[in-house]
């Protein structure tokens, strides 16, 4: 064991333990850390917005524009002032009963993001995914790969690949049908919807597995920090 001598490692370790103490139960030490975190994070965000957005995209261009205006030239830079005024109107939301000026900038932002979202979803998800789903039922390359595969395991996996195209098509159509609300799920329609649910469940299982992976990684990292960086234990 080789305890760290770095004061900053100690700060980080104590805060880590403070947050972890919540696993035992909610307690004042956890609460202290939690509020400290929100405070530090808020201050951090504000500073980054100032340094990385306000200064380069607003103050500097407007400053340049004002200088140019002093020389008698109107530049595009000064149009940024409109953004500033609209942006400040957002703050009217903080005053109860006098929130309406914030609707102007909200309108602009919602409009801009809606317009972008329409195009993004239409080209990126709708059309592209549709196009990629137009596949032949029989995948010839998978068939020949199945013929070439040797050994039980490889043969099995190659066989699964032969089934890929039909399963993809059935899965896609039945799941799409499950989310079709104009028909009661009875009889044949109910059976198709049921197949759709099965596909949904498998995909949720896949997501579950991946989420477990993500969370375990995060825990692992904190343990490595505590055991390795702080306590100085001999870990891998």
């Amino acid at each position: 064991m080789n305890l760290s001598g770095d004061i900053w490692v100690w700060v980080a370790a104590i805060l880590t333990l403070a947050i972890m103490s919540y696993l035992y139960k909610d307690n004042p030490i956890y609460k202290f850390a939690e509020y400290l975190f929100v405070g530090v994070a808020s201050g951090y965000y504000l500073s980054i917005y100032y340094a990385n957005v306000m200064v380069p995209n607003l103050f500097t261009p407007v400053g340049d524009g004002v200088k140019a205006l002093g020389g008698g030239v109107w530049t595009w830079d000064l149009w940024r002032l409109v953004a500033l005024v609209l942006g400040l109107m957002l703050f009217s939301r903080l005053i109860p009963k006098f929130g309406w000026p914030s609707r102007w900038p909200m309108g602009l932002l919602v409009g801009a993001y809606s317009g972008l979202a329409i195009m993004g979803f239409a080209q990126g998800d709708l059309l592209a995914q549709l196009q990629d789903s137009l596949i032949p039922i029989i995948d010839k390359s998978a068939l020949s790969a199945f013929g070439d595969a040797s050994g039980m395991t490889n043969k099995f996996l190659a066989f699964l690949n032969v089934l890929s195209h039909p399963i993809l098509i059935i899965g896609l159509l039945s799941t799409l049908y499950y989310f079709f609300f104009s028909q009661e799920h009875t009889g044949v329609s109910g059976k198709v919807a049921k197949v759709g649910i099965w596909f949904l469940m498998i995909s949720f299982g896949a997501s579950y597995g991946f989420t477990v992976m993500a969370r375990v990684t995060l825990a692992l990292d904190r343990l490595r920090f505590l055991f390795g960086d702080w306590l100085g234990l001999n870990i891998l």
Partner: protein, 226 residues
């Protein structure tokens, strides 16, 4: 008029402009300026969020509400970071100060590496946010043990897929059976993909219709009541 029609008109005009710009390259110069505005305004909206946190906690402190002591901690953390990251750089740029202000070998003003600001980020922000999300590993374990109940065919499919993927994505899977990673990869690429694609297409239709409603002025909930 100012409260309803103008914001609606702004939404409709800006929204359509962003759509049209995709097809008509001539609109590019104008849309650029609009997007620059949006960047500044979104940043200000985020500042509004921070201001709101500050406001709520200041109220809590001044009214000595329950747990106001923690609000003092929160405000102290926030002010510390704002002074280092915003106030000092502001003072420097207003008075044109070029020299560095150091304390214990680290720069006091600014947000880049080698500053006190980044040191606090590294030893407070990083471990605390990291640990908060790390707690989820433990919750997922207890959820797996105490509430993951395989009561139906549906739940069985979910559980089997989850288990294959969990084993197949880490090296131990192939140690157990050499086809495990291949099988989990197949699940990801075929049945999982089929369902995810259907969800994606459905969600895209939903998002497009919501967007169209907004820029056609049919959906106005986001503007709030009267």
């Amino acid at each position: 008029m100012l409260k309803r029609e103008v914001p609606l008109l702004i939404t409709i005009l800006v929204g359509w402009f962003m759509v049209i710009e995709y097809f008509f390259p001539g609109a590019e110069k104008w849309s650029s300026e609009l997007q620059n505005w949006a960047i500044i305004m979104t940043a200000l909206a985020s500042v509004l969020g921070v201001a709101n946190v500050a406001r709520i906690n200041m109220l809590k402190i001044s009214r000595k509400q329950k747990d106001w002591g923690y609000s003092v901690v929160l405000m102290a953390g926030m002010i510390l970071m704002v002074v280092l990251g915003t106030l000092f750089p502001m003072i420097k740029s207003i008075f044109g100060i070029e020299s560095s202000w150091t304390l214990a070998g680290m720069e006091l003003s600014g947000v880049t590496s080698g500053t006190w600001f980044t040191q606090f980020y590294d030893s407070m922000f990083v471990p605390m946010q990291g640990t908060m999300f790390a707690l989820l590993a433990f919750y997922i374990a207890s959820a797996a043990f105490r509430s993951f109940r395989i009561r139906s065919v549906d739940a069985t499919l979910l559980a089997v897929a989850a288990i294959i993927v969990m084993i197949g994505r880490v090296p131990i899977g192939d140690v157990m059976w050499s086809g495990m990673s291949g099988l989990s990869d197949w699940i990801m690429n075929v049945p999982n993909l089929a369902a995810k694609r259907a969800i994606l297409i459905g969600a895209a239709l939903g998002a497009i219709s919501t967007g169209l409603k907004v820029i056609m002025g049919i959906e106005r909930n986001f503007l709030g009541g009267d």
